[in-house]
Amino acid sequence: MIDINSIISEMTTEGSQVIIPLIQQMLGLLPDIPMIKLMVSFILWKPIFAALICPGFSTLGILLLFFPWIERKLCARIQWRVGPREVVRWLGGIIQLLADTLKFIFQEVIIHKDAHKFYFLQFPLLTFIPALLPILFVNIASADAEYPLVAIQSPYAIQIMLALICLFPVFILGMGWASNSRYAFIGTVREAFMYFAYEVPFIIAVLAMIILFGTSGSVAITEWQSTWWRWGIICNPFAALAFFIGSAMATSRLPFEIPEADQEVAFGPFVEYSGIGFGLVYIVCYEKMYVLSALMTMLFLGGGNGPYIAPLGDLSGAVWFLLKTIIVMTTLAILRPIYPRYRLDQGLGMGWSAILFLALIALVLSIIMRSVGMVL
C-alpha cells in the first residue's frame, strides 16, 4: 500500500517544488482534493517538472513545432522571400509544421524491397534515445536560485551528455546501412567521416571547460558562471568557437551539411525514408540541435543566469535559459542561407587542423587559467 501522504510530503519538502508566484494563487484556489493536489504537486516536483515541462518534453515539443517554421521564415527573409504563410493566414503560417506533421503521419510508409526491414523501421525511433536523454541533465535554474531545477543531478552530467550525443551518429549509420541504397551508402560513409572530423575537437573543447570550471556537474557549472564576465564564452572564447563549429558539424548544418547534401546524395542516409519515418528523422535533427544548443548555453552562456524576474519565481532561470538556447539555435539556423557546402575532405581537413588547433589552444588556456588560480 502506497502511502500517498508520505509521497506528497516527500514531493513538497522545502525546495523540491517549482514555485511560480504568478500562478501560485491559482494553485491555492484548487480544491483540496487529494488526487488533484497529488497531480499538481507531482508535476511541480522539480525532477519531474524538469523532465516533463521545462527543459524536457513539453518545451522540446513546442520548440520542435515552431522552430522549423522560424528557420524557414528566417531563411526566406534573408532570401528576399516571405516563406510559409498561407496556412491559417492570420497566424502568418506559424502552424506550418503542424500541417507537415499531419501529412507525415497519414502518409504511406514505404519499405522498399532491398531494405533491412527490422532495422530500417527501428532506427528512426531509436535515435530519440540519444536525442532525449541528455536533456535530463540540463540545469535551467539560475545561480542565485537556492535549489537547482534539473531532472537528474550528477557530478558527471557533462560527460554523460557528451557520451549520449556521441552515440547519435551510430544510429544514423544504422539507418543508412538498413536503407541499402547507393546514395544512402555514400551519405553514411560521409556521416562516419564527419563524425571523426568533429568529435575530437568537440570533446577537447568541452574538456577545456570542465578543467576551467573544475567541475562537471551541471549545477556547479551554473554557479561558477554567476556573473556575466565569468561566462564560459568570455573566459575561453576559443573553446566556445570550437564547440560551436563542432555543433554545426554534428547537426549537419551548412557549411557542413556534407552527409545529407541533397543536391549530391539526396539526403544521404535518409534517402529512402518516407512518411512518418522521414518525419521522425527530420524532427530528430532539430532535437539534436536543441540538445547541443542547450549544452552550449550551459557551458558558455551562463545557463539560466540572468536578471531575476520576480513573478516567474523559479521559472525566471528557465526563461533566460530558453532564450539563450533559442539564440544559439537561430545562429545555427542562419548558417544555412549564408554558407555553401564544404567538400568532405575539406570538412575533414578543417576538423583535424583548424578546429583541433583551436580546441587545443582552448585547452592550454584553461589549464593556464586554472593553474595560476585565476578567479575573476
Binding site: 522571400r81 516563406g83 510559409p84 507537415d100 551548412l254
Partner: protein
C-alpha cells in the same frame, strides 16, 4: 496506366476517421518533386524563387521522390524520360498528386508530331493540366491551389455549367485550306554552291589548300564569306583532315552533319572544322563526302570517324549514328544508342521516316494529335561493359539522374573509387524533342518559335542565330535601328542566361540564397523583355529582316534603369556568394581544363575563354552592332571552376555596358523602320510593325540553293545553325543546329575526371549546362 488509378489518392484521403486532419495536413503540405524535364522548368524555378515564392503555400520544393507527394511535370516528357516519370511516381508514398505544366505535357504542344515524345497522362494519372508555353509562374501556383481545392473535396467536374442556346447561324460552305507547304519532289541538294564574294584571305587559303591536298580532293569552293567547302572521298577523308590539322592548325570540329538524299540513294556526310588561331577564327571549312545509302546486306553504311584526330567530333558522330544509322568506324560508341531511347523509331532523321502532317480542318473521328504508345519497359540499364570494368577494378557504379536533385535531366553514370571519380559517362537525350526533324516539316518562319524552345533561359540568342542564317542566305541587310534593338535584347538574354547559370551553380554548392538573389535579378530582366516583346521567355521577336515591331523610348529608358538595379543587386550577390570563403575553397583549382584540353574536347563560349582561348564570335566575326560598341571580350587562364564562373560575371558587367550604350544610341535615332524593305517587298508600309501582314510577308520564304551556316555567340558559346535548302521548297531540306551546351558536355566529363565526388557538382554547375539546349 490502369483505370483504377484515377482519383485513387483522393479516395485514400477521404477514408477513415481522421479524414479532416488528413485532408488539412496534406492540403498545406504538398511537397512537389519537381520534374524539370524541359524548358518550362525555368518558369517553375521562378515560381519558387523570390519573385513568386511558392513556399507561401506550404509547398517545399523537394527533389527526392520518397519524401515528396506531388509531382510537377514540366513540359515535354520524352520516350526516354517516361520510364523515369513512372518510376518516380511509383516511388512516392500515397496520397500523391500530379500536375502537368506546359502545352507539351498535354498533347505535345509545339512538338506534337515529334517522334520522341510521350503524353504524360498515358504514363501517370494527372490531376491538373496547366496550359501555356511556357506557363507563367502565376499559372503554376494557381495549379497548386487547384490541387489544394481538390483535396478539400471541391471537384471541378461537379461544377454545373449553364447551357445557353445561341441562335443558329446559317452554315457557309468553307473551302478547305490547302497546306501552305511546298515540297520539291526530287530536290537537288548541294552543299558547295560556289558564290562570288569579296574575300582575299579566302582565295589565298583555297590556293594553299589546292597545293597541299594534291589529288586528295574532288573540289574546293568558296561558298560564302568565311566559308570554304572541300569535297573528298571517304577513303581520302582522314588524310585530308590530317593535312588540314598539320599544316593549317585546324584544331576542332564545330559540327558533324549527315544529309540524307533519299531519292539519289546517298548520304552526304560533312564535318565543319575550324582553328583557334587569329586569322582562322571566323573561317569554317566544310569537308564533305558522299556515301551510298544502306545496301541489302547492311543497314548501317560505314564511314571513317575523325574522332581519333579531333575528339570534339565524338558526341556529334554518335548523335548522327542514332539519327541516320551511319556507322562511324573508329568511334567507340557505335554499338549503343546515345541520344535516343531504346524504343524510339530507328533512324528517325532519314527522309523515309515521316512524321505526322498538320491538319488544317478537323474531321470527325480523326484525333487532334497522334496517339502515342507509352514505353512499356521500365528499366534503364547501364551498359554491361561499364559494370564489368568497374567490377574488375573494384569500383562502385553510381547513377546520378535522370531524376535527381542535382543531375539536371540527363543521367551520369559514375565510376567511383572511394571518394574519387574515375570516369563519368553521360547518358543524354532525356529532353531530346527532335527539333531537327520537326524543322524539316515546317515553313522557314514556323521554325523561329521552334528553335527558341531549345533554350528558354536564353531565347533571344537562339532566335537570332536562326534568323541570321536566313538573312545571310537571302542577303538581306537589317536596318540600323533594328540591329541595335536586337543587340539590346540579345545582351539582356545573355545576362539572364548567365544569372540562370549562377543560380544553378549556387544551388549545386548548397547555397540557396545565391540562387534566390540571382533569380530576383532575372525577374527584372524578364520584365524588361516583357515590356519590349510581350512575352517572358519565348518572344519570337526577331524575324528575318528585323524585329516584329518598334520599341518605344520609355521602355528603353526603363531597360536602362534596370541595368543600374542589376548592378546594385549583383553587388549584393557578390557579397553573399562570390566572396564567400567556402565558395572559393570549393571552386578554386577544381576541374581545371588547360588550353589544350579545352580545345581538344571542343568546348565553346565563356568556358573556352576561361581556359585562355580568345575566341568570342562577337569579336571574331562581328554581327549586329557589336563592332560599333565599346566592350571587351573576357578571357582568363585559370581554367578552373572559379575562373569559368568569374569570367561570366565579368561578361555580365560588359553586357550591361553594351545595353546602356546601345540604348543611348537608339534613343538618338528616328523611330520606325525596323524591318528591311527588301524582305517586305510590296508591303513597305508595315516596316515599323508587322502585325497583320506576317504571313503575307513570310509565308512563302524560299532560300536560295545551298548550305547556309550562321554562327553566333549565344550566352553559353558558339551557336551554329546550318540550313540546307534546295532552292524550291518553302521548308528547309535539313536544319542542323549545334548548341553550345552539346559541345560543352564533353568538357564536363573531362574536367570532372579525377576529382572528388562532391566536386562533380561544382564542375557541372560551373559549366552552365542546360539539358534541353543540349538535347534539342
Amino acid at each position: 496506366m490502369e483505370e483504377g488509378e484515377k482519383n485513387r489518392n483522393i479516395r485514400i484521403l477521404h477514408s477513415g476517421v481522421f479524414t479532416p486532419l488528413r485532408r488539412w495536413g496534406t492540403k498545406w503540405s504538398l511537397w512537389p518533386c519537381h520534374f524539370v524535364t524541359s524548358c518550362c522548368g525555368v518558369e517553375l524555378a521562378h515560381a519558387f524563387a523570390c519573385g513568386f515564392d511558392g513556399e507561401r503555400l506550404g509547398t517545399l520544393n523537394m527533389g527526392i521522390a520518397r519524401q515528396a507527394n506531388f509531382i510537377i511535370v514540366e513540359g515535354t516528357i520524352t520516350r526516354k524520360m517516361a520510364p523515369a516519370l513512372r518510376i518516380v511516381w511509383e516511388q512516392m508514398p500515397d496520397p500523391k498528386f500530379v500536375n502537368v505544366i506546359g502545352a507539351c505535357g498535354q498533347r505535345g504542344g509545339i512538338f506534337w508530331n515529334s517522334y520522341n515524345i510521350v503524353h504524360p497522362s498515358d504514363v501517370v494519372p494527372v490531376d491538373f493540366f496547366i496550359p501555356g508555353c511556357p506557363i507563367t509562374p502565376e499559372g503554376l501556383l494557381r495549379g497548386v491551389r487547384a490541387v489544394q481545392e481538390k483535396i478539400e473535396g471541391r471537384d471541378r467536374t461537379t461544377i454545373e455549367f449553364k447551357h445557353v442556346d445561341l441562335p443558329s447561324v446559317e452554315k457557309e460552305e468553307h473551302r478547305v485550306p490547302t497546306t501552305p507547304k511546298i515540297f520539291a519532289p526530287t530536290p537537288a541538294i548541294r552543299v558547295d554552291v560556289p558564290r562570288e564574294v569579296d574575300w582575299d584571305f579566302g582565295k589565298e587559303v583555297v590556293n594553299n589548300l589546292k597545293a597541299q591536298l594534291g589529288g586528295l580532293y574532288n573540289s574546293i569552293a568558296i561558298t560564302d564569306k568565311n566559308r570554304i567547302a572541300i569535297k573528298t572521298t571517304p577513303e581520302n577523308l582522314m588524310e585530308v583532315a590530317r593535312k588540314l590539322s598539320d599544316s593549317m592548325g585546324i584544331d576542332h570540329v564545330k559540327n558533324v552533319n549527315v544529309i540524307d538524299v533519299a531519292h539519289e540513294r546517298k548520304f552526304i556526310v560533312e564535318y565543319m572544322v575550324s582553328g583557334y588561331s587569329k586569322e582562322l577564327m571566323p573561317v569554317i571549312i566544310t569537308i564533305f563526302t558522299e556515301i551510298g545509302r544502306e545496301t541489302e546486306a547492311e543497314a548501317e553504311p560505314g564511314f571513317p570517324s575523325l574522332t581519333p584526330l579531333w575528339e570534339s567530333a565524338n558526341y556529334s558522330e554518335r548523335e548522327m549514328h542514332d539519327f541516320f544509322g551511319v556507322s562511324f568506324e573508329g568511334n567507340k560508341g557505335m554499338n549503343e544508342k546515345f541520344l535516343l531511347a531504346p524504343d524510339t523509331p530507328e533512324y528517325p532523321l532519314r527522309k523515309d521516316f515521316k512524321v505526322e502532317e498538320e491538319l488544317y480542318v478537323l474531321e470527325e473521328g480523326v484525333p487532334l494529335a497522334p496517339t502515342i504508345k507509352p514505353p512499356e519497359e521500365l528499366t534503364m540499364p547501364v551498359s554491361e561493359e561499364t559494370l564489368d570494368e568497374a567490377e574488375k577494378n573494384d569500383e562502385m557504379v553510381a547513377c546520378i539522374g535522370p531524376h535527381h536533385p542535382g543531375s539536371g535531366h540527363l543521367r551520369w553514370i559514375m565510376r567511383l573509387k572511394g571518394d574519387v571519380i574515375v570516369e563519368v559517362n553521360p547518358d543524354p537525350g532525356y529532353v531530346h524533342r527532335s527539333m531537327e526533324k520537326l524543322a524539316e516539316n515546317r515553313l522557314y518562319i514556323q521554325n523561329v518559335p521552334l528553335f527558341e524552345r531549345a533554350n528558354i533561359s536564353d531565347p533571344i540568342n537562339m532566335n537570332l542565330g536562326y534568323v541570321r542564317a536566313i538573312e545571310n542566305a537571302l542577303g538581306v541587310e537589317v536596318p540600323e535601328r533594328a540591329k541595335y534593338l536586337r543587340t539590346i535584347m540579345a545582351e539582356l538574354s545573355r545576362i539572364g542566361a548567365f544569372f540562370y547559370d549562377a543560380g544553378i551553380f549556387s544551388l549545386f554548392t548548397g547555397h540557396s540564397t545565391g540562387f534566390m538573389y540571382v533569380w530576383a535579378i532575372r525577374e527584372m530582366i524578364l520584365e524588361a523583355i516583357v515590356r519590349m516583346t510581350g512575352s517572358r521567355c519565348t518572344p519570337s521577336f526577331i524575324i528575318p529582316g528585323g524585329i516584329r515591331r518598334d520599341i518605344s523610348d520609355d521602355v528603353l529608358e526603363l531597360t536602362r534603369n534596370f541595368t543600374f538595379a542589376i548592378d546594385t543587386r549583383l553587388r549584393k550577390f557578390e557579397d553573399i556568394f562570390v566572396t564567400n570563403p567556402v565558395f572559393i575553397a570549393r571552386t578554386k583549382g577544381v576541374g581545371v581544363l588547360t588550353r589544350e584540353d579545352a580545345i581538344r574536347c571542343g568546348i565553346v563560349g565563356p568556358f573556352l575563354r576561361a581556359s585562355g582561348v580568345e575566341y568570342d564570335i562577337r569579336k571574331a566575326e562581328p554581327y549586329e552592332v557589336y563592332d560599333q560598341l565599346d566592350w571587351e571580350a573576357t578571357t582568363g587562364d585559370a581554367g578552373d571552376c572559379l575562373g569559368r564562373f568569374l569570367g561570366r560575371l565579368e561578361e555580365i558587367k560588359q553586357s550591361v555596358g553594351i545595353v546602356r550604350q546601345a540604348v543611348d544610341a537608339v534613343k538618338g535615332m528616328p523611330r520606325g523602320n525596323v524591318i528591311s524593305e527588301e524582305i517586305l517587298g510590296e508591303y513597305k508600309e508595315v516596316s515599323d510593325d508587322i502585325r497583320g501582314y506576317f504571313f503575307r510577308v513570310y509565308g512563302n520564304l524560299v532560300l536560295p540553293k545551298g548550305e547556309w551556316t550562321s554562327i553566333t555567340e549565344a550566352s553559353r558559346g558558339t551557336l551554329l545553325y546550318s540550313i540546307i535548302s534546295d532552292g524550291e521548297s518553302n521548308v528547309p531540306y535539313r536544319v542542323r543546329v549545334v548548341t553550345p551546351c552539346w559541345m560543352n558536355l564533353r568538357g564536363i566529363i573531362e574536367a570532372s575526371k579525377g576529382e572528388r565526388v562532391a566536386d562533380f557538382w561544382t564542375v557541372y554547375g560551373s559549366f552552365g549546362y542546360f539539358p534541353p539546349e543540349a538535347d534539342r
